[in-house]
């Protein structure tokens, strides 16, 4: 009875085109934002802020980036981690080489550089589609990591390519506590998620989806193939690049190129699938699920150890985790290809009709 849109009449198209046309959604979002911005940093403990919530937000942003390219524009990429790497290392270099560089500016530079790399590796998408393109994005993954490893400039010639993120401050306030880093991440992610939502509900997003669903028809109604695909690559890599920069600055602090191996690309891909391809909300749900799942598994194995009085090896736990992740992906693809976001939507529709389902 609570979740009803009855009585909420839309008398203008402007009202109908709001992001959240239903009042309850607006209230829910406001409450969520208040909790995230106020309650969590006030009451959340250090471990949760720095080891769970911050990486969750960062990975959600990366997933969002991948979602724009794969979920919306239909171009499968296996090179997400490479774009994140570009973002991380270029943001580091921006801080290092440009005096008085503001941290948000460095993030933006990281993102823009990633977008440039994305453009270059998006070029093949003009001639090839689908599976061939997926393989092409692997080229990006391997090439970028090799370049960062081998070319000393990227890591300021540090040994083994490790970089340490510089101190961050905004308007004189140092960003050095877990809560501050969390808030910075949250703000960036919130703004970028809003922008993505806007983008996906306007002409650009429609063009992406048109290319995804039926490319011949898309070009016939005048959607420029080249521009649309390249724009998808650029925007997507920008998001991944900013996520990579925050991965380095807000989460890890000290980063080696190996933080961005193919496995991370896959993890982000999994987040997208489990959360829901082609859904902004899904990016968050998927990232949340995959961030929390190992923690849950850890707790489960701990209690199992206690209950049985044995010790499970680390390898056992991590291999089990891999198996469960893989199986979950297959399960979701078979049972609910649109992921958690779709389940959420079904739940909402049920709730709308409840308690009279007919």
């Amino acid at each position: 009875m609570l979740y009803r849109e009855a009585g909420q009449f839309k008398s203008t198209y402007a009202q109908d085109q709001q992001i959240f046309p239903i009042l309850q959604d607006r209230i829910g979002m406001a409450v969520l934002l208040v909790i995230a911005f106020v309650a969590v940093p006030l009451f959340g403990d250090q471990y949760w802020l720095s080891a769970i919530l911050t990486p969750f937000l960062v990975l959600a942003l990366a997933t969002l980036g991948l979602n724009i390219l794969t979920g919306y524009a239909g171009q499968l990429s296996l090179g997400t981690a490479a774009f994140m790497a570009v973002g991380a290392f270029m943001a580091y270099n921006a801080m290092l080489r440009i005096p008085h560089m503001p941290i948000l500016g460095a993030f933006a530079i990281g993102g823009l550089c990633a977008a440039a790399v994305g453009l270059v590796f998006g070029l093949p998408s003009l001639r090839i589609k689908g599976l061939y393109l997926a393989v092409a994005t692997l080229a990006c993954q391997f090439f970028v990591l090799w370049a960062i490893n081998r070319i000393g400039w990227f890591s300021n010639h540090s040994s083994s390519g490790v970089i340490t993120a510089q101190r961050m401050e905004i308007l004189g306030y140092p960003i050095d506590t877990p809560a501050a880093k969390y808030l910075l991440t949250l703000s960036v992610v919130a703004v970028m998620a809003l922008a993505a939502k806007n983008l996906m509900r306007s002409e650009t997003g429609h063009a992406f989806m048109a290319v995804r669903d039926m490319d011949v028809a898309a070009s016939v109604i005048g959607i420029p193939m080249m521009k649309t695909k390249l724009l998808a690559f650029a925007i997507s890599s920008f998001y991944c690049g900013v996520a990579g920069a925050m991965y380095a600055f807000c989460y890890l602090g000290t980063v080696e190129p190996e933080a961005f191996v193919l496995d991370l690309s896959f993890r982000v891909l999994f987040m997208m699938i489990i959360g829901g391809a082609g859904s902004i909300l899904g990016s968050f749900l998927g990232a949340g699920f995959i961030t929390l799942f190992p923690i849950f598994l850890n707790l489960a194995s701990k209690s199992l150890e206690n209950a049985l009085g044995i010790e499970l090896s680390h390898a056992l736990v991590s291999n089990t985790e891999a198996v469960i992740f893989g199986a979950l992906i297959i399960f979701f693809l078979i049972v609910e290809p649109y992921g958690l976001a779709r389940l959420w939507q079904i739940g909402k529709e049920k709730l709308r009709l409840w308690p009279f389902p007919h």
């Binding site: 198209y13 002409e203 429609h206 011949v216």
Partner: protein, 263 residues
């Protein structure tokens, strides 16, 4: 036939267009023209090259020979993006809607060429982006009203029955406010009632918006009823061209349909 707008001058003329896939000649020196505000049908047996002809007209296929003149401009071949810009819209034989999107979004996408604001403005939802979105929403709603699909506005097109999908595809094409509309078997697979509806919509579009219509259709009754002139293709060649009555009496056409052995 009685029309709101008189048939005007030559809008499109096709000169000696040939198209081959490997060794197969899909079109062989086809020439015809289309007048403004006219309803022009292309008919012919299966494999006659009708769809190929439409594909050449809006640049999905590129002919090996021949020229296309549209609104006074001459082209060796069309590019589909450019064709859309010139005002050529199109529906497909096997519905080519964007399955993951709602009806409204599909039709909105049809207006993409009219959007002026950049993606950055859209991302920030600034003044112009918001204003344009509203403007186009009004235009799109008008088309939605016109084709009587208001009730399914927010439904993902994948869930719609076939007949409605065809109508949505027409709506998407109309959203571009085309000068010329190419319809590839708009009534294929419909029942009688749906066909009648579709005929009415096509004539209304022609009447109300003055859109020139080129259509492929198998149902002879429909073709004879709604078209001003008919081109008949067989094995990639034009075998007849004229008013429905002329074409109906043409011996070559009768032979092509009844299957006289080709010497």
């Amino acid at each position: 036939m009685d029309r709101g707008r008189p048939v005007g001058e030559v809008l499109l003329s096709v000169e000696g267009v040939s198209l081959a896939f490997g060794g197969v000649k899909a079109l062989n020196g086809v020439s015809f023209d289309v007048y403004q505000h006219e309803v022009r049908a292309i008919i012919g047996p299966n494999g006659a090259g009708k769809s190929s002809m439409l594909n050449v007209l809006n640049g999905v296929y590129h002919p090996n020979q021949g020229t296309i003149r549209f609104r006074g401009e001459e082209f060796r071949d069309m590019d589909s993006h450019h064709a859309a810009k010139l005002g050529i819209a199109r529906t497909f034989q096997n519905i080519a809607l964007f399955k993951g999107m709602t009806v409204l979004d599909n039709v909105m996408t049809g207006r993409n060429l009219k959007i002026r604001c950049t993606f950055l403005e859209q991302a920030l939802w600034l003044g112009r982006a918001r204003r344009e979105e509203l403007e186009h929403r009004h235009a799109v709603e008008e088309i939605i009203d016109f084709l009587e699909i208001q009730h399914i506005r927010k439904t993902p097109v994948g869930r719609l029955p076939y007949g409605l999908q065809k109508r949505v595809e027409l709506a998407r094409a109309l959203a571009a406010e085309p000068v010329m509309l190419l319809l590839d078997e708009p009534m294929a697979g419909m029942n009688l009632e749906e066909k009648q509806d579709m005929c009415r919509f096509i004539l209304d579009v022609n009447d109300h918006y003055g859109t020139t219509i080129v259509l492929i259709e198998h149902d002879m009754g429909v073709v004879m009823d709604i078209s001003d002139r008919v081109v008949v293709l067989d094995y990639g060649r034009k075998i007849a061209d004229g008013t429905p009555t002329e074409v109906r009496g043409d011996q070559k056409v009768i032979d092509a349909y009844l299957g006289v052995a080709h010497a």
